[in-house]
Symmetry: none
Subunit: 415 residues, 2 copies
Amino acid sequence: MKGILVIADGLGGRPTDVCGKTCLEAASTPVLDELARRGAVGLVDPIGPGVRPGSDTAHLSLLGYDPRKIYTGRGVFECLGIGMDVREGDVCFRANFATVETRDEGFVVTDRRAGRIESGQGELAEALNRIELESVPGMSFEFRASTQHRGALLLRGEGLSRYVTENDPHKTDRQALRFAALPGHEKEAGRTASALNELVERGHEALSRHPVNVERIRDGKLPANFVLARGAADCPRIPSVESIYDVRGAVIAGGALYRGVALACGMTSIDVPGATGGLDTDLRAKAAAAVKALESFDFVFVHVKGTDNAGHDQDAEAKTAFIERIDRELFGSLLEAIDEEKTHLAFTGDHTTPIDFGDHTVEPVPVLFAGPNVCTDDCATFGERVAGRGGLGRWSGRVLPMLLGYCNWAPKFGS
Amino acid sequence: MKGILVIADGLGGRPTDVCGKTCLEAASTPVLDELARRGAVGLVDPIGPGVRPGSDTAHLSLLGYDPRKIYTGRGVFECLGIGMDVREGDVCFRANFATVETRDEGFVVTDRRAGRIESGQGELAEALNRIELESVPGMSFEFRASTQHRGALLLRGEGLSRYVTENDPHKTDRQALRFAALPGHEKEAGRTASALNELVERGHEALSRHPVNVERIRDGKLPANFVLARGAADCPRIPSVESIYDVRGAVIAGGALYRGVALACGMTSIDVPGATGGLDTDLRAKAAAAVKALESFDFVFVHVKGTDNAGHDQDAEAKTAFIERIDRELFGSLLEAIDEEKTHLAFTGDHTTPIDFGDHTVEPVPVLFAGPNVCTDDCATFGERVAGRGGLGRWSGRVLPMLLGYCNWAPKFGS
């Protein structure tokens, strides 16, 4: 048996005013409809009924873990997702380059994304990483740049704590905040906040005079002269999928966060050229890589992000078109290549991102299972409302354990 | 009001290649169909979505308890189920007679079931129970035989621990293992392992020279000359059904395990001649006993095991035929005798045992409720797929609490 789990980020929707249908309902999806006919559909609350999911927590829950118990923050998945070596005791952040002006009141953020910087980030990161922190002896750090302004920051040393505030004001023309221990965590988190404040201040000095930024200013671009960090997290204790099910899984995801979550669960990341984590991603390449991965792995988790991007952009046309591409280019390619007698498929989203709202909402998302051990229902299309009448009913999270269960890989609890 | 809960072990299935239907769907079940018409159906994950249930854990969950919190192992239910007096601090095992040969490397198991011994087990148990353990002062034990090679073992004394390995190699022509403390439990479990090793070794001496075995060897049968023990468990802290609902329940089950689980939950066991825990059980006698039990008890839990036996044997015909017998002989008899205006019925399985797989799988199982307080849905048959369209939806465990709730016996949580 082999298993394929596809999660389309923000797949779920609400009916739009234009056609009274959700984007998934409006999209022409002949391949998914055929899978629905052969398999069964239902509704899944990514975390639980009435819980509005984040992408990280929703993925943990769909992969079979209880985020209420193990989630410590987003930063650790960002660090893992861009290939950093995270160890127990480290504290991790989602971080990015920003542009600040130094005014009387301090550092004022004029662009939270440093003009969406497209080159030179690696050199800037190197300059940052040459700083040796003086206020907190024995503490080291690493900043790593990923795409555009984005990156991740990892602190390492004795006595770190994730219980610190962030320095991102989340709006422009606001002062960058100072890191501080969260209330009640003053004793344990003081050193961490000091280290972060020193890092950010000395980082500003180093970045400001860096040739990359000197050139940017000369070219009329915003300098990437400041680091904003948020999503403090330490290493969650997650038993690996392999330790639970005795099977090996691979992840194919353009977005660092999703790779990071899967890596934290013990999967192996497979790089796919053209997998961008955006609407322009190469879905056929992802499908081909998934099929190839099944030669060496028992299951593969494929993440596609474009649905969520279009949802956040409140662009119904783009979301609908991307779902049609998922149908044709991802599932169409998969079905051409897999042995359907020996493969189970699961397809769902990690949350709902309705066009009219442009952010995650609490609704359950439709889910589809197909494969030789799946009892069919009488649903012949795939969408939010048909899933509500599906033969699988409604439950919370745990889509991967169900998929592995259909593959007969679930361990018995009890005897 | 009165309540009847029937659990058919391993009731759930997957469609078989023969007819594209599950055994429950293929079976002719006019009585259950009539109950489905009068009542409502749904899907229940015995423990939770994507959790592959053991029989013991699934029963605890269906009876309203959280096995993740209270389950310590199977042994205690086996001891309770064959009538042993289990007290706090005792450590219990599922145990059985086996045949070993003494070779250079130690005791080699040549038959894990001692030729499915059919007589003399009580005398052999007596011989075992005369042993006084010397390696661990103050520790006593009791071995009790049940059916064929099966039995249970209970240790009593100060400082016992359930964190020990088992001695069953689970295959023939393998050396019987030595009991040992589980890793991390060396301090607390060392005495328990020593007691078990002494008991097994001295037991072998006593059993080998016992007249029952001398005679078995003379008759060309395998001697029951060794004890294998597994499923170490201590007394779980389970509040009784009566303490929660203020109603009294009885259990009718041929299999010791199920009686044991129900006894641990505070029910009273009713012996029914002809209830074998197998495919040959007397279902009419169980129905009659259930009806009689309702004269003295508020509810009765009837367990039937044959469905699971046929599933493990991968015998679709036998499973289908047994389901038809449940329909006719158990439910048919019940409906003839009960006052339907004052009785609620629930019927489900504790897990799925598909014919093609021959062991428990993760799928939810169909569940049916009928009685005066049950809101009907539009389902008119009972099976896996119709239950997916049922009016009750899908949830996890807690079938007994729902049944008692329909009877208006559930305590209010909050005010």
